[in-house]
């Protein structure tokens, strides 16, 4: 595999001078110290091979946009080098550079021209672009009459009219309707097969885990995690929930899987397990079997209120089902130090065959984002097998009655 992008020791700082003349003189070798220097990116290093799909995640202000701008070349790195092999296409903002009074067709010519294509190159693909956008006669109407979804269709068509070596998608894709999301995703996957590298910036865990095979987490201008998307997203979520004096740690379990535990520690999860009707702890569960999830917690410090929630995730880390005690009016109040509680959730395992994990969180309110006492990803792994039901595919079991009537 060949490298298409290599980011080496890249730092970016925005300089503020006492007078702008000092900046201008500094271009000609005069040395003026800037009054202030804002460091946005600090010593970023990573390289990307062709065909990889990378998710870039981070909180607002972590430096994602700045990094992308440096990669696309609109900003210049203060230090370090970026080496790009091939063409970069970027959807950084929906319909950027579209003139509202021009038609979709005219704007396509204009935008592709701005990407450096010649008129012959644009002529060659304009019909495909029109067909791809599927906005029919609107293609020859002024863009101001478009919905944002239609603009996205044209914009996406323009950016992907030719296969780029690197495709950067910044959030924008979530605007389109479900049909177009699938369509654009298919095109992205097709490009990927042909060797295009995808850089996806998103806060959407599902999108990152469904598309990317690697994720990079930026925090305060530095890469703090680079690896498997699920592991990085767990860490990222923990980071969001992190408040003062809270900790995040990742534990590598015997099987090499990584468990992320975070929280402020007022409450501690002691034990978690799935139990069959007979009260036996199980990790292989039959489709449709009734089951109990039991979670034991211990209170380390007096707290006013506590909610416990859990979520079942599939092997890609996508949420399958989740709920918490808030929704069932089982909020605990005025907990004292050293209290212990056991929570029991009873349900039927109506899931498809496969491996699943359960994440558990104890927090003060109905979301884990505030007052996160402890949050444990992959607290439990279990498998669903089909021993009693008819064969089926998919992620959930739906009880069937099948009738065939000869008419």
């Amino acid at each position: 595999m060949n490298k298409v992008l290599e980011v080496k020791n890249v730092s970016k700082s925005f300089k503020e001078y006492a007078s702008e003349w000092a900046r201008i003189f500094s271009w000609f070798g005069f040395n003026f110290n800037p009054k202030e220097e804002h460091h946005i990116l600090k010593n970023i290093n990573f390289s990307i091979n062709s065909g990889e799909a990378i998710g870039i995640v981070g909180q607002n202000g972590a430096g994602k946009s700045t990094l992308l701008k440096i990669i696309t070349g609109t900003l210049k790195a203060s230090e370090g080098t970026i080496q790009v092999n091939g063409r970069i296409s970027a959807i950084l903002e929906l319909g950027m550079g579209f003139n509202p009074d021009l038609t979709g067709r005219q704007n396509s010519y204009h935008s592709m021209g701005m990407m450096g294509y010649t008129i012959e190159q644009i002529d060659a693909v304009i019909n495909d672009l029109e067909a791809f956008a599927e906005i029919d006669e609107y293609f020859d109407q002024p863009v101001r009459t478009y919905s944002s979804g239609m603009q996205l269709r044209v914009a996406f068509g323009v950016v992907t009219a030719y296969r780029p070596e690197i495709l950067i998608v910044d959030e924008a894709l979530s605007v389109g309707d479900a049909y177009f999301q699938h369509k654009s995703l298919n095109r992205v996957r097709e490009f990927q097969k042909q060797g295009t590298t995808l850089l996806l910036v998103s806060h959407d865990r599902g999108a990152i885990q469904a598309i990317c095979d690697r994720a990079i987490l930026l925090e305060k201008g530095a890469v703090i995690k680079d690896g498997n998307p699920e592991e990085v997203m767990d860490f990222y979520n923990a980071l969001i929930a992190e408040k003062e004096n809270s900790t995040v740690k990742q534990v590598v379990k015997e099987d090499g899987d990584i468990q992320t535990i975070s929280g402020t520690g007022e409450v501690q999860i002691e034990d978690i397990g799935l139990f069959s009707e007979k009260g036996k702890k199980v990790d292989y569960i039959s489709v449709g079997e009734s089951i109990q999830l039991k979670v034991k917690i211990k209170v380390n410090q007096d707290i006013e209120q506590m909610v416990l929630g859990y979520v079942i995730k599939d092997r890609l880390g996508q949420d399958i089902f989740g709920t918490n005690t808030h929704h069932y009016n089982k909020i605990l109040e005025n907990l004292k130090k050293d209290d212990t509680f056991e929570f029991i959730f009873s349900f039927c395992m109506n899931l498809g065959i496969g491996s699943y994990s359960i994440a558990v969180a104890v927090h003060a309110n109905d979301t884990h984002l505030s007052g996160n006492y402890e949050w444990r990803d992959k607290a439990l792994i279990f498998n669903v097998i089909n021993t009693s039901k008819e064969a089926f595919v998919g992620s959930s079991w739906i009880e069937q009655k099948v009738e065939v009537i000869h008419v």
Partner: protein
């Protein structure tokens, strides 16, 4: 720096199509559409030709036409308009397109070139309409018209040099744009467009020649009013100034181009 120009060349199609789209986009939503392209310059020409010919009927020395004064003004105005349009728009071209420059990667130098193309297109329209009006006034200066491209080249070079130089600095020091609007007002009256240089006292006439536009504008007047070749001695000084300002502009732009998006 060579790469900068190679990349720009690759964007020639974009520059040309942008000039075209910017031109058409101006009128696209009006009912009269393309007619406005003619109405604007026509109105400007008629104001000078009709109104001034009634108020200022004094004949200019060496010209037979009773319309000599309006023709004198129009000859100067056409050169001045080309110059001031390029300078004015170049001053703000990077700021106006700041958002685009931050999001899309393309040669920044394309933007002032699009400005230049647009101004040139306006010049041609203005010229055609002016010539038609000249025809109605019975004045058809065609003996020295082949010198006009040279004058246009000089005007554009000077305007681009100044516009790009100040436009680049204006990104960092925004007062420059404000200041230049004031300066251009004075500059208009410090150029012999509305008045003839010989109405000034002699020592002031020499000062007038320090203005690089004086020689150029007098060239337009020679070609369009007096129907004769420009005075090449008067064009030497503007040529030198144009070359110096263009070189300075390219140097400062080259140094500034990477830091520009930091402050936009």
């Amino acid at each position: 720096m060579k790469n900068m120009f190679i990349r720009l060349w690759a964007y020639r199609y974009f520059i040309l199509s942008s000039i075209k789209t910017e031109f058409t986009a101006r009128f696209i939503r009006s009912k009269l559409g393309g007619l406005w392209i003619i109405i604007h310059p026509l109105a400007q020409v008629l104001v000078y030709a009709l109104i001034l010919s009634q108020i200022m009927t004094a004949k200019l020395p060496g010209v037979d036409s009773t319309y000599s004064y309006p023709i004198y003004i129009l000859s100067g105005i056409i050169g001045w308009t080309l110059f001031s349009e390029i300078v004015n728009k170049s001053l703000n071209v990077f700021i106006v397109n700041g958002n685009l420059l931050k999001k899309m990667s393309f040669p920044k130098l394309a933007l002032p070139l699009i400005v230049m193309g647009g101004a040139f297109l306006n010049f041609i329209l203005f010229f055609i309409i002016m010539f038609i009006v000249f025809g109605f006034l019975g004045h058809l200066p065609y003996h020295a018209l082949h010198w006009l491209p040279l004058l246009v080249l000089l005007t554009v070079s000077l305007a681009m040099g100044l516009g790009l130089f100040l436009g680049t600095l204006n990104v960092f020091i925004r007062d420059i744009g404000q200041m230049m609007e004031v300066v251009l007002n004075f500059w208009f009256w410090l150029t012999p467009i509305v008045y003839m240089p010989n109405i000034l006292p002699e020592n002031y006439q020499e000062l007038l020649m320090l203005n690089p536009l004086t020689g150029i504008v007098m060239g337009y007047q020679n070609v369009l009013l007096y129907d004769k070749a420009p005075d090449f001695n008067l064009l030497m000084y503007p040529t030198i100034i144009a070359l110096i300002s263009l070189s300075l502009a390219i140097i400062i732009f080259y140094k500034a181009r990477e830091e520009m998006t930091d402050v936009l």
